[in-house]
């Protein structure tokens, strides 16, 4: 018998009302995620990939279907499924260190060990020495590092990332992709990552779930068998990118 998957999604369907009718955003979504896997949802805008991720986070409820984490149904947001937003969602009145420690405040831990944990995650995302800065005093890339640290510190079972690097410049984005890969190797998280960027998906993912729209569904599952670390200039890498790029264009 196969071991039970960490995350199992069955028959997911989501309908949004709009002026004058209903729009089926997602329909017939089925997939499993194994522990420690890195999954990328690749699709063009409007295919419902963010909606799918928000359902997994528990921010939205599906109209039909079921999400189970380790066998237990997901009914709302919780720290075992942490979310990294596309936009800046840090608390502007808290310093970088306080933002990172925010999720620990409700947990029974003393101040000293909390501070130690914050320092550890600060250095893990390369922000040692920036703990006392306020969010408006740091750059967009640094903000996303903080956003990453504040969820990693909660040791979630699943990390949900909604185009977290989309608004960064190309160099910063590559840096962040490297950082995320090295963190993933260290901490062996399960990551579900939404993107519209083919290169990003092929660099990061174990498996790419290619999405199509109207209604949003998973059209194809593409395993990325490339060894890590992956070179952005390798022929195999570029070949896969080209294949996925073509598939993405045909799917629309």
């Amino acid at each position: 018998m196969r071991p039970r998957p960490l995350l199992s999604i069955r028959g997911l369907r989501k309908v949004f009302p709009f002026t004058g009718g209903f729009h089926t955003v997602l329909d017939g979504i089925d997939f499993d995620v194994e522990e420690g896997e890195f999954i990328c949802f690749l699709g063009r805008s409007g295919c419902g990939k963010t909606t799918l991720l928000k359902i997994l986070a528990g921010f939205l409820l599906p109209n039909a279907g079921r999400v189970r984490l380790a066998g237990k149904p997901v009914t709302g947001p919780g720290p075992e499924r942490c979310f990294v937003f596309q936009e800046d969602a840090l608390f502007p009145w808290l310093t970088v260190a306080e933002n990172i420690g925010f999720g620990l405040r409700g947990r029974a831990r003393d101040r000293a060990s909390r501070r130690k944990a914050v320092d550890r995650y600060l250095s893990m995302v390369g922000l040692s020495g920036f703990g006392e800065y306020l969010p408006h005093e740091i750059s967009g890339g640094m903000k996303q590092r903080v956003a990453l640290a504040r969820v990693l510190i909660l040791e979630p079972r699943v990390l949900l990332m909604d185009e977290p690097f989309a608004s960064l410049d190309a160099q910063t984005r590559e840096e962040m992709q490297e950082l995320l890969q090295s963190l993933w190797r260290q901490l062996s998280h399960t990551i579900l990552f939404v993107t519209h960027d083919v290169h990003e998906a092929v660099i990061l993912a174990d498996r790419v779930l290619l999405m199509a729209k109207d209604p949003g569904c998973i059209r194809e599952t593409v395993p990325i068998g490339l060894p890590r670390p992956r070179g952005r200039e390798d022929a195999a890498f570029l070949g896969l990118c080209r294949t996925l790029h073509t598939a993405l264009r045909e799917g629309a």
């Binding site: 709302g76 808290l94 999720g103």
Partner: protein, 267 residues
Amino acid sequence: MAESSARNWRRRILLPGLIPAFVLLAWVWVARTECIPGYLFPPPEEIGRAALDYLFGGTGEGPYAGRFLRDAWSSLFRVGCGFLIAAGLGVPLGVLSGRVATARRLMGSTINGLRAVPGISWLPLAMVWFGIGMRTTVFLVALAAFFPVYLNAAAGARQVNPLLLQAGAMMGVRRLRGTFSILLPAAMPHIVTGLRLGLGISWAYLVLGELTGVPDGLGAVIMDARMLGRIDIIVVGMILIAVMGRASDLLLTSTLRLCFMSVRRMQ
């Protein structure tokens, strides 16, 4: 260092003082030309004398000598009581109706209806209910200051970035803690605006309440001086209200900065 302190002086003292200084000069000039008779528009030195007498004169030396401290204290106390009632009701009710649709539907129409009734038209009723003096004034002040506090708190709570609340929920923050650690700090800039507007209006309604014949208070002094034709004292009273209004605004903002991290860091 020297340069920066010079710039600081320019920014903090010179610039804010520029308009008052200009007005004072224009006033002196108008008084010199004597195109307006002195009994309608006294020259500044006369006002200065009246102010010194009112502020520091020994009691009994004249009708207004040395009354300032007692008047200021009474007025300040009335404003303080009325404003605290307004803030104590306005902030929680505002935040509640900004976040909870049921509360908004329950209170919205009533409060906006009441808001349309000018504060001054409550005066006759307030005098019948509370008599003349402290309680009427506090009632009027609280009533008038409530609306800006309530409306801004509601707007602030409604406009809180939903991502912040989602982020909190994702990090396992429950509703009560979320209210105090996310919702209120995020709405704080609006709440502060509402409180400052409310405090400003408090002074306006203070004078209204004190015009009704109370023995002490800055508004009472102005009304009293009108009866006796003492234009100088009227002007002194108005200037002192301006000064105390500005001072109380500074006190409010610095108290809020002292008490709330979100106020310190987001302005």
